[in-house]
């Protein structure tokens, strides 16, 4: 049974920031998640992820792991100030779009919902269908993120909006660093145990490249406190967030686990003996272009005209005074 207390550490940033380097320099060898030159990455074993999600969906007490998703959904719901006739929720998991075939497990809500099992990387919807597309905490398992964002842009109607939340950047850096250090000390090398995440600085490029306009990107850091490293890993497994990268090592030595738990507590532990785990959630909003949006932008040439007019006026005044 996991006992965890959620503590929100809220840091609302204006625009984008460069991610700070965590952990020891030189041991930080996480590959960047976004390749700028169109080649699709194949980092994650999607079949394995589907099996993990199905296993988790079948858990009787699975709702105890839902705290992170519930928190993110609460925030996302704030953004919905307009009425959207038809919405698509990608990666809804147990809540809205069930990931397994038994449709009865789809939670009944006031909004009429239909659950389908689809692969996020191959959306089977016609273009210009949806007014709203939501995605909450599922994009970090996608191999071809630029492709998926482009598909989302296509299935949206013009002036439709995409609101997404994905974990990125510094998420679980404590776990990543503890495991890296422990594995290096105990075994002489280390392998990736935590997925590579999208940096917040890349998100703007990704959304722009997919054809969205009027972008908004925001970062929210949620810190959850756990009794120890084992509880962190148990909860991650319960959330369906176990590692499924192709390059993952299939076992973790007992000694390394012991060492990592000790390092985690020493380096990051709180006064009361608990340890924090950071989830950096990137919120993004992108609109599909539409003529009505053009009027909202200010042209740079208009700004220049205003400045020049002002200068000419003040020069004339100075000349008059000089006489």
């Amino acid at each position: 049974m996991s006992s965890s207390v959620t503590v929100r550490v809220l840091r609302r940033l204006q625009g984008l920031r460069a991610g700070p380097v965590r952990g020891p320099a030189g041991l930080r060898a996480e590959p960047g998640r976004f390749l700028s030159s169109g080649g699709a990455m194949n980092v994650f074993n999607r079949d394995m992820k589907k099996r993990q999600k199905q296993r988790v969906a079948a858990l009787k007490d699975g709702h105890q792991y839902d705290y992170l998703r519930d928190e993110v959904r609460r925030i996302t719901a704030f953004c919905l100030l307009r009425t959207f006739p038809l919405a698509l929720d990608i990666g809804g998991g147990k809540s809205h779009i069930a990931e397994h075939l038994n449709k009865k497990r789809c939670r009944q809500t006031e909004v009429p919902t239909r659950c389908v099992v689809v692969d996020e990387e191959f959306l089977p919807f016609k273009e210009n269908t949806f007014d709203l597309v939501l995605s909450s905490l599922s994009l970090h398992w996608i191999n071809d993120l630029p492709g998926v964002l482009r598909q989302i842009q296509q299935v949206l109607k013009p002036d439709g909006v995409f609101i997404g939340a994905m974990v990125g950047g510094d998420t679980l850096y404590e776990l990543r660093c503890s495991l890296q250090l422990a594995e290096s000390e105990r075994e002489g090398g280390f392998s990736a145990h935590v997925s590579p995440f999208t940096a917040v600085t890349d998100l703007g490029n990704l959304l722009g490249g997919a054809g969205f306009s009027l972008l908004t990107v925001d970062v929210d850091e949620v810190q959850v406190h756990y009794p120890g490293m084992m509880e962190v890993m148990t909860d991650l497994q319960g959330m369906g967030e176990s590692n499924c990268a192709w390059n993952r090592r299939s076992l973790l030595h007992r000694d390394t686990m012991l060492a990592a738990a000790a390092v985690y507590r020493e380096m990051y532990g709180n006064q009361d003996g608990s340890v924090p785990a950071t989830f950096e959630i990137l919120y993004m909003i992108g609109w599909k272009p539409h003529e009505s949006q053009v009027r909202r932008t200010v042209f740079l040439t208009e700004l220049t005209k205003i400045t020049l007019k002002g200068e000419r006026k003040s020069r004339k005044k100075r000349e008059k005074k000089g006489n």
Binding site: L27, L181, E185, G228, D255, L258, A259, A262, V263, E266
Partner: protein
């Protein structure tokens, strides 16, 4: 349940891992400090750099395990009433 096998035993060990680690908090702290020191100091982290501290931690951990070596499902469960 299919009785005691390697999976149930290892899962049981993992389940009590946090309690055992709590009993060895001091040794864990010493080991953790040794490793954490490499992130700030000039010394690079090499294999077995903190082997002494780790052996101490492991010994404590193993001693914490052994009094509780009766795994549910194997070994006797009852003894004379108090």
């Amino acid at each position: 349940m299919s009785g005691s096998n390697v999976w149930t035993r290892s899962r049981e060990r993992l389940r009590i891992f946090p309690e055992l680690l709590a009993q060895c908090a001091d040794e864990a702290a010493v080991y953790g400090k040794c490793v954490a020191a490499t992130t700030t100091g000039r010394q690079e982290l090499k294999k077995d750099l903190c082997v002494k501290e780790f052996e101490a931690l492991k010994t404590c951990f193993t001693n914490a395990v052994s009094p509780q070596s009766s795994i549910p499902g194997s070994g006797f469960t009852g003894h004379g009433g108090d």
